[in-house]
Amino acid sequence: MSRRAQENLAAVALLAVFAGVIVLCQDFGPRARMIPLPLGILGVVLTLIQIVWQNLRSTDELQMDMIAVPAPGVAAPNPETSPGAKPLAGRAPSWREEAAAFGIVAVLLALVLLLGPVPAVFLFTGGYFLFTRHYSLRAGLIYTAVFTAATYLLFFVALEIQPYHGMLAPIVDHFQ
């Protein structure tokens, strides 16, 4: 998908959100909608201006990505002289890389919801180390155990936060 199409998709999604706000505001009383309604209208107007504006600009002007913008005062990284570094600077990430990043967040979220924070942290961290093969199995396991123990002690013992046991807890209890 071209950058322009992506930008348009993002803008249309925003337009839908602002339009939704206007519709929902009709159910509120005059005081409750005093600020959200004008803001929803302002949002629609600004987004429409943005859609028109971005479709009038050249494609080159849309080819900017935050990840690819080098910080001022820092020499742009040279992929050929930086072994081990993926030469991402200067190019947009592929959809596969982005899907993997979304997947990482989704997996951790699913684990936390299903098992609760502490087992999720153990499985996610250990699994990540194993999958990336950045550390040996032994080192990865040690880091995972130490980090999980530290998280447990800090949040659930020292700070006395009530643990959540996950959606699977009732099922496990049932079989016990």
């Binding site: 992506q6 990840i67 979304f102």
Partner: protein
């Protein structure tokens, strides 16, 4: 008064008070660094342990922990763009770019020194001005608070990264997200879709964990390299450079400190607003505003000085009238009750030594935090060089557990994940995340004070409140100043080019 100053210090010279101060500071630093947890959580967790000890020692524990969280919050904002709590947000804007440029040590040292200087100015001001501040506080009402919140919004143009329209869209979206939940004025549930969890609204710290921390980790996972690759970017800065920066920008520190004091004195205006307002004034008064958001050290010094001074300001209405300046001061009031101390006019007569003990605690705790901070800066600056394969699972896990810990609700983890994806998309298509959060932080304050102003003074409330009108004029002038300067500079450049052409 001199006797009270002396006895206030003497009360802190006991082994118990010294020990409690150190415990409080170390504990506060750890809590401050954890995402989602700030000074309020630190004090709330300590409260049950404060009964039965010396008054000065108890206050040293509570205030020491609270003051240490200020710098703790700044550390993760600077190193990972992960604000420890809402007030650390302003540190992300320039602190994180400094880290990426190999200036992490300098940024951390400037932040610690700025907070120390602000803290001392705040403490001195607290000692001198308690009797004088009463008429000033009573002169201000909701209309003036509304204008102060609007002043915070003027910083939006700074973060619009070339597209003012996208910047404005982001802030409108942020304001609307802040309205999710039960309306504080009419008790109407807004944008909740019948979901009970949303009735309480979306937590600021959780939203920030998602927008900044989760989305940054997603970017890091894609990139597969450390935040700072030492093969490409060397750590060129030193602790001394940061200390010198804070000293050489002493006028910025003084201005920011007075702003922090002012916001601290006003009840109900949080430190998150203070940080943003400090950043706004640093940008608006700078001769080179275009450097901000790209690693300007002033963008680190100003918010930290403001937040350091904010504590002294916050103590003023708490001690003098028993009106807490913020959530943390409300917790301090609870501690006062436990200690058998009644805040109010009596505090300035019968318990003046205790007031000066608190002034001394602010000064000493700030010095201890800064000494520890400067000592560990170089070690902390190495953290962003850790490989992405280590950082991503660990930071993501801490973020999700931190989101859960904020309110003990598992739904907040879902919110953090959703905001993480939103933050990534906003960043990719250059809709400023900073503007989104600024809108979110200021929305409730704007709406509440607008409603109260309209009810109390009618539609033409500005005409009936000359102080608010004067403040509005000041806001318009300071907001227009960067644009006027930029126009003037452009004009001068054009004139110079024409001159050279001849």
């Amino acid at each position: 008064m001199l006797e009270a100053i002396g006895s206030g210090l003497a009360a802190l010279a006991t082994p118990q008070a010294i020990l409690f101060m150190f415990i409080g500071v170390i504990y506060g630093l750890v809590i401050g660094i954890l995402p989602g947890l700030g000074g309020v959580v630190a004090m709330a967790l300590l409260l049950p342990f404060t009964y039965g000890f010396e008054k000065a020692a108890t206050l040293a524990l509570l205030l020491g922990a609270h003051i240490a969280t200020i710098w703790g919050d700044s550390v993760t904002s600077i190193l990972f763009s992960v604000p420890g709590s809402a007030k650390g947000l302003a540190l992300c804007f320039d602190g994180y770019p400094m880290t990426k440029q190999g200036q992490a040590t300098r940024a951390l040292a400037a932040s610690a020194t700025g907070a120390l200087m602000g803290g001392i100015i705040g403490a001195v001001f607290l000692a001198l001005c308690i009797p004088l501040i009463r008429p000033v506080i009573l002169a201000l009402g909701p209309s003036e608070y509304l204008i102060m919140a609007l002043w915070g919004l003027t910083v939006i143009a700074t973060f619009s990264e070339g597209s003012l329209i996208k910047g404005l869209i982001a802030s409108v979206l942020g304001v609307l997200v802040a309205f999710v939940g039960t309306d504080v004025v009419t008790a109407t549930p807004r944008f909740t879709f019948g979901i009970e969890f949303l009735m309480d609204g979306i937590s600021f710290p959780v939203a920030m964990i998602g927008l900044f921390a989760v989305s940054e980790m997603m970017k890091l996972a894609i990139r597969g390299t450390p935040i700072v690759d030492r093969e490409l970017v060397r750590e060129t800065s030193t602790v001394w450079q940061g200390v010198k920066d804070a000293g050489s920008h002493w006028w910025l520190v003084v201005r920011s400190s007075f702003l922090g004091l002012w916001i601290g004195v006003l009840p109900g205006v949080g430190a998150s607003v203070a940080g943003l307002a400090a950043y706004a004034q640093a940008v608006q008064t700078s001769s080179t505003p275009e450097r901000f958001g790209k690693g300007a050290v002033e963008g680190v010094i100003a918010p930290d000085a403001t937040m350091g001074a904010n504590e002294g300001g916050g103590l003023m209405p708490t001690l003098a009238f028993g009106i807490p300046g913020g959530e943390s001061m409300a917790l301090l009031l609870v501690a006062f009750i436990g200690l058998g101390v009644v805040p109010g006019p009596d505090m300035l007569t019968k318990h003046l030594d205790l007031v000066f003990s608190m002034v001394w605690i602010i000064v000493i705790a700030n010095i201890v935090v800064t000494v520890i901070g400067l000592a560990i800066c170089p070690a902390l600056a190495r953290l962003p060089t850790l490989h992405a394969n280590l950082m991503v699972p660990i930071v993501l896990s801490v973020c999700f557990v931190g989101a859960y810990a904020t309110r003990g609700r598992i739904e907040d983890v879902v919110v953090a994940a959703v905001f993480g994806v939103l933050g990534y998309v906003m960043d990719k298509y250059r809709y400023s995340r900073a503007n989104f959060v600024i809108g979110m932080v200021l929305a409730v304050m704007i709406e509440r004070n607008l409603h109260i102003s309209l009810t109390l003074y009618g539609d033409d409330f500005l005409l009936k409140r000359p102080i608010a009108l004067a403040m509005l004029a000041f806001v318009v002038v300071t907001a227009a100043l960067p644009f006027v300067r930029s126009w003037y500079r452009g004009k001068s450049r054009a004139a110079a080019t024409t001159e050279t052409g001849r």
